[in-house]
Structures are given as structure tokens and as C-alpha cells.
């Protein structure tokens, strides 16, 4: 049906580069260790590094040579492996989705990275082409879609529909309200702690304490500028990552594409959607915005974890969610009216936070005296947080849908269809039992974690209602 093909030669360098990066710490260690002893040992360790480096390059080229793919008898057949030769045959109709990524290197050569996903939950069931020409990618796409159409009897021709495209102001709001700043700051700290050996901190900060007392203002300004810079950098990273975010709905898929430097395109089959998660961090909640994720039952390999929890709408006004998505997701009730836990649950929410916080507060007041009083702020924040958790908790049953809402730090609403829930738990501990409260937990399938939703301290009767709704057993009239 078609000849064996190879990936673009650049792949050999990409593979080698990735491997070199993995063993880089090893290089650095032996160079430093060797360099300390004498010139000779430095030379030897340099030699060893060079040999390993060349070997890595060679295996990179070899693995590129060995990786071939072809379409044969309605299967995608891949052969690869340098030392252990492997063959992987994927029936075309089992292919669930094809995702594209264009990294910097791929863009420079007009190439694209293609990942082919199948239904199975195991990592083995997928194929990654790290760099092929766009025409080749197009060919693969066509092969797969013709194969799938042959097996499908009816095909309704439908126009592709643009569901969402992010405007510049939305991109700005997204970046401003994202928590990326924390990541950047910790990266900077990590970097500095790594440089420990190179920068003589001791010398620089010798007379630190006296100096610091004199220049406390200056230090605060520097720290502030540092934070500000970190925030600006994170702003740019978010903007580059999510620029040009568009969602298009075809006959049976969502096609999501985004990114400026690294362009990504993902296909999510609508019928593989397991649940919808609406997340609002505190900033976004205050201005009425949220992020919408879909939990999809893709294959869950480690590098693929992000994609099992796909961002469908990175930033959206809450009241726009339903109008945008209702047509594509007709089964879902996107604006559930939630029922809160009863009033008597409030102090359980508060006490649960106090169990953790009060010992900390007491200990710090005991040991730190006056400064320890600052921990009272923690106490106040914790209590407010607990009240928020109580206020945000809720549930809703509507037809075949169970909606649960809870807050960790971010407020999360999870919408699940009955036939997508894998199992359901209700639990009550001793204290809950006394107050006629309970906890409900529901699980859906996804490639990785995050496939779970739980609400604590709901009315016991409500919990039983949900349990009964999920149960296939007819409730007996006489049962008390």
C-alpha cells in the first residue's frame, strides 16, 4: 500500500540532543570530579565524556535509521529500535486522535511533530513521529480518516464550526490571573541554589547583617523588583503559550490549537469526553471568569499527562460557557443549580481547618513570643478559607448528570454524566454520622489522575439521593 518511510533526518540530532541532555549532569559531575584532582585526570574525564558524546550521536543516527513506518493492510506499521528491534502495528480504525506540535526546531525546518493516540489506556498504544514534513503529516491524516470513514456507514457532512477563539483582551486577563509567577520564582531560587558552588556567597555576604540593617529599604526594593520581573516573565510565558487559542468543532471532534513559539494542535473526540471541569482561581472568580477543562479518556503515558486534562477554554466569562458549548455538548447541563450543604456542616468545615492551624499558631506563639502573634494572620486566613470552602460546596442532580462543586484552593465544578461515572462512594465517619452528614465521591476515567470529585459534609439524605440515582437497583417500597 505504501513504501516504508523514515522521519526527517533532523530527528537523529533531536534524539541525540535529548539523550545528551539526560546525561548532562553525569558529564558535569565527572568533569568537576576529574578537574579537582589533576590535569591528567581532567584530560581522562574529558576523553570519556567525548567518547560517550560521540556514541550518543551515533545511536541517535542509528535509531533514526531504524525507525520506519508504512501503511499496509489498513494498519500503521512501525519498526524501530537499535539493539532490540520492535514492531508496532496499529489498526487504523483504532486510532482515536492525531495531535500536532510544532516546536522551535520543527518550525525552522517547516516540520511538525505528530502523535497518534489510540483508545487503549496503556502507553504502548501510541506512536510519535518527532519530525516529519507537513505534506507527510497531511498524508497520514488522510490515510487515517479514509480508513475510518470506510468503517463508518453513515457520514453526515457538516461544516466545521468555530467554537471559540481567544481575543487579545482575554489573553491578557488569562496571563494576569495565572499563577505562573510562583513557577518562575521557584525556578530562579532553584537556579541560585544550584550555583552554590560557583558564587562565593560567604565572601559577598560576609558583613551582611550590619549592612542589611542599614539598607533595609534598599533590600525591600530589590526584592520587590525581583518579584515584579518574575511576574512579567511569567506573564510573557503564559501569553506565548496560549496565544491564538482556537477551538473548532468538526463532525465528532474538538480541534484545539494554540501557541506562538511552540504551536500545538489537539483533536479530542467528543464521544471520548468523560467529564467537564470548570475551575476558578480566586482572582478569576472575583472578576467572573473561569477555565474549562475536559477530561478525556486518552492513553495516559507520562509525557502525555497534560493532554488527558485538556484545556478547552483557557479563560471565559462564566455566563458565556453555556452559550458557547451547549451546541457541541448537548448532553451536558452547563449551568447546574447547586444545592449547598446544611448550616450545621459549617462548623465541621471550620474545625477541620483548625485541627491543622491551631497547633501551629499555639506553637509559634509559645516559641516565638511576640513575632509568633503574626501567625494569627494565618489563623484568620485559614478560617476565611474554611468558610469559603463551605460556601462553595454543592451538588446537583439533573437527568443523567451529576454536578459536584468543591474548593481546594481553586473552586472546581465537575460535571459528569451517569454513564461516564466508573464508581461512586458515599462515606460517613463517626462525627458525620452523629450530625447526619456524609461525603460523596465520584470517579471517572482519564489517562492520568484528576479523575475524581468529592464533596464533604452534605446532608445525609442528599447523599443517599445521589447514591440511589446511581444505583441500578429498584428501591423497594417497603424498605425503611
Amino acid at each position: 500500500m505504501s513504501d516504508s518511510k523514515r522521519l526527517h533526518p533532523i530527528v537523529s540530532i533531536l534524539t541525540a540532543g535529548k539523550r545528551v541532555r539526560n546525561i548532562l549532569p553525569f558529564f558535569i559531575t565527572i568533569l568537576i570530579a576529574g578537574g579537582r584532582e589533576s590535569k591528567l585526570s581532567l584530560l581522562i574525564s574529558l576523553g570519556i565524556s567525548l567518547v560517550i558524546f560521540i556514541l550518543t550521536l551515533l545511536t541517535g543516527i542509528l535509531s533514526w535509521l531504524r525507525f520506519t513506518y508504512r501503511f499496509e493492510e489498513n494498519e500503521l506499521r512501525i519498526e524501530y529500535g537499535v539493539f532490540v528491534r520492535k514492531k508496532r502495528y496499529i489498526p487504523l480504525e483504532r486510532i482515536q486522535s492525531i495531535n500536532y506540535t510544532e516546536g522551535l526546531i520543527q518550525q525552522m525546518f517547516g516540520l511538525v511533530k505528530v502523535r497518534i493516540e489510540t483508545a487503549g489506556g496503556e502507553n504502548e498504544d501510541e506512536a510519535v513521529f518527532s519530525a516529519i514534513t507537513k505534506e507527510e503529516a497531511q498524508l497520514i491524516q488522510e490515510y487515517v480518516s479514509t480508513a475510518k470513514q470506510e468503517s463508518r456507514i453513515i457520514k453526515t457532512v457538516e461544516e466545521d464550526q468555530k467554537v471559540f477563539s481567544m481575543s487579545t483582551s482575554e489573553l491578557l486577563i488569562l496571563s494576569l490571573t495565572s499563577g505562573g509567577v510562583g513557577v518562575v520564582i521557584s525556578a530562579v531560587f532553584a537556579l541560585f541554589s544550584q550555583l552554590d558552588d560557583w558564587i562565593p556567597y560567604k565572601k559577598i555576604f560576609g558583613g551582611l547583617e550590619e549592612w542589611a540593617l542599614k539598607n533595609i529599604m534598599a533590600i525591600m526594593v530589590v526584592v520587590f523588583i525581583g518579584f515584579f520581573l518574575a511576574w512579567v516573565i511569567s506573564l510573557f510565558i503564559t501569553m506565548l503559550k496560549y496565544a491564538n487559542f482556537t477551538v473548532v468543532r468538526t463532525e465528532g471532534d474538538f480541534i484545539i490549537s494554540y501557541g506562538l513559539i511552540e504551536k500545538k494542535q489537539m483533536t479530542i473526540p467528543l464521544r471520548r469526553i468523560q467529564a467537564i471541569r470548570i475551575k476558578e482561581n480566586i482572582l478569576r472568580q472575583m472578576i467572573g471568569y473561569a477555565t474549562v477543562y475536559i477530561v478525556s479518556a486518552g492513553s495516559g503515558s507520562a509525557e502525555n499527562q497534560e493532554e488527558t486534562k485538556v484545556i478547552l477554554l483557557p479563560i471565559i466569562r462564566i455566563k458565556d460557557i453555556a452559550p458557547l458549548l451547549q451546541e457541541s455538548l448537548p448532553d451536558y447541563q452547563l449551568e447546574p443549580i447547586l444545592i449547598s450543604p446544611p448550616k450545621r456542616a459549617l462548623h465541621r468545615y471550620i474545625f477541620r481547618t483548625w485541627y491543622v492551624i491551631v497547633p501551629i499558631v499555639l506553637a509559634s506563639i509559645l516559641f516565638l513570643k511576640a513575632w509568633g502573634a503574626l501567625s494569627l494572620v494565618l489563623f484568620a486566613v485559614g478560617t476565611i478559607w474554611a468558610i469559603l470552602k463551605y460556601k462553595d460546596a454543592g451538588w446537583c442532580l439533573e437527568g443523567k448528570q451529576l454536578s459536584l462543586r468543591y474548593r481546594t484552593i481553586i473552586r472546581t465544578t465537575v460535571l459528569m454524566q451517569k454513564n461516564r461515572i466508573q464508581s461512586l462512594k458515599m462515606r460517613e465517619n463517626y462525627f458525620q454520622q452523629k450530625r447526619e452528614l456524609g461525603t460523596i465521591e465520584a470517579f471517572v476515567k482519564s489517562g492520568s489522575g484528576d479523575s475524581w470529585a468529592a464533596v464533604v459534609d452534605l446532608e445525609k439524605g442528599d447523599i443517599q439521593k445521589i447514591y440511589q440515582w446511581y444505583s441500578r437497583k429498584r428501591p423497594k417500597e417497603t424498605a425503611g
Binding site: K425, R427, E428, S471, K473
Partner: protein
């Protein structure tokens, strides 16, 4: 209104859990003994040793006598045509519903202790979760596994 599942697991489970409690305690004592010896050598305060000794008495009592009994008494299960229901937990009582159409596969497991007493545990897997019925009679476990996989196959449905 919501009926509890009724079936209990084999009462031989009690013996097995007690034996594994004894083994656990023996290992615990070995570790505690070593720790006491070291504490003595390095001349550390006596109250640390005291705490260790108290724990060394308390945990075996719990592991051998209290917990197996409570656990066995509180465990219930029921397998119906369309779903499976479990009830477990001593302090926190948990009830789980698993519809048959969601079951992916069923395993039976048997460690050396369970095998000696002709018991086996049944593990039911869905696409997202795994559920264990511990310590059933061998034949019963085998039957249950067969029964569940038959029902699960009958109710084929997409994920």
C-alpha cells in the same frame, strides 16, 4: 431507604488477619528492640524508650485483637445482576457502587497466608478504580470472579 449490602466475608479471614498482625508485631518488636538498644548505648533520655515500649504494647493489641475483629464485622458486599456494592470501614464507613457495565476485568489474588487457609481476595477493576473483596473461600472467589466477568461481558458498553 438505602438498604445495606448483606453478605459477609469468610470468618477464616479473622484468623488470617490475626496471623499477619502477629507477623507485623514481631517485625515491629525487632525494630523497637534495636531502637531501644541504640537508645541505651547513646544514652538518650529514658522517656523516648518509654514511649517506644508503650507503642510496642499498644500496636500489637490493636493489630492482633481489635482491628481484625472490627474490620471483619464491618465488611459487607453484594453482587447483583447490574451492580456490585461494598461496605467497609471502622471509623469512616464507606459504601461503594460499581455498575457491572463499568467493570473492565476481575482478578483473584492469593498470598501464602490466604492460600494456606484456602481463601482468596477478588479485585474488580473499572477503567478508573479498583475494588477489593478480601478473603473469600477459594471456590466462592472463583465463582464470583466467573460470575462478575460474565455479567460484565453481557453488559458491554463504550467507556
Amino acid at each position: 431507604m438505602v438498604l445495606n449490602p448483606q453478605k459477609m466475608i469468610s470468618n477464616k479471614a479473622l484468623t488470617v488477619w490475626r496471623i499477619s498482625g502477629i507477623i507485623k508485631s514481631l517485625i515491629g518488636w525487632a525494630v523497637t528492640g534495636t531502637a531501644l538498644f541504640l537508645l541505651h548505648i547513646f544514652d538518650l533520655p529514658f522517656w523516648i524508650s518509654m514511649i517506644l515500649i508503650v507503642l510496642g504494647v499498644l500496636f500489637p493489641i490493636l493489630d492482633i485483637f481489635v482491628i481484625p475483629m472490627l474490620r471483619w464485622r464491618s465488611y459487607r458486599y453484594e453482587v447483583r445482576e447490574e451492580e456490585m456494592e461494598l461496605k467497609e470501614g471502622i471509623f469512616t464507613k464507606t459504601r461503594t457502587l460499581v455498575p457491572m457495565i463499568r467493570v473492565q476485568h476481575v482478578d483473584t489474588n492469593q498470598g501464602p497466608l490466604l492460600r494456606k487457609y484456602k481463601l482468596a481476595s477478588v479485585v474488580v477493576h473499572t477503567a478508573a478504580t479498583a475494588h477489593i473483596i478480601p478473603a473469600l473461600e477459594e471456590e466462592e472467589a472463583e465463582e464470583l470472579r466467573f460470575f462478575i466477568s460474565k455479567l460484565a461481558r453481557a453488559a458491554e458498553d463504550d467507556v
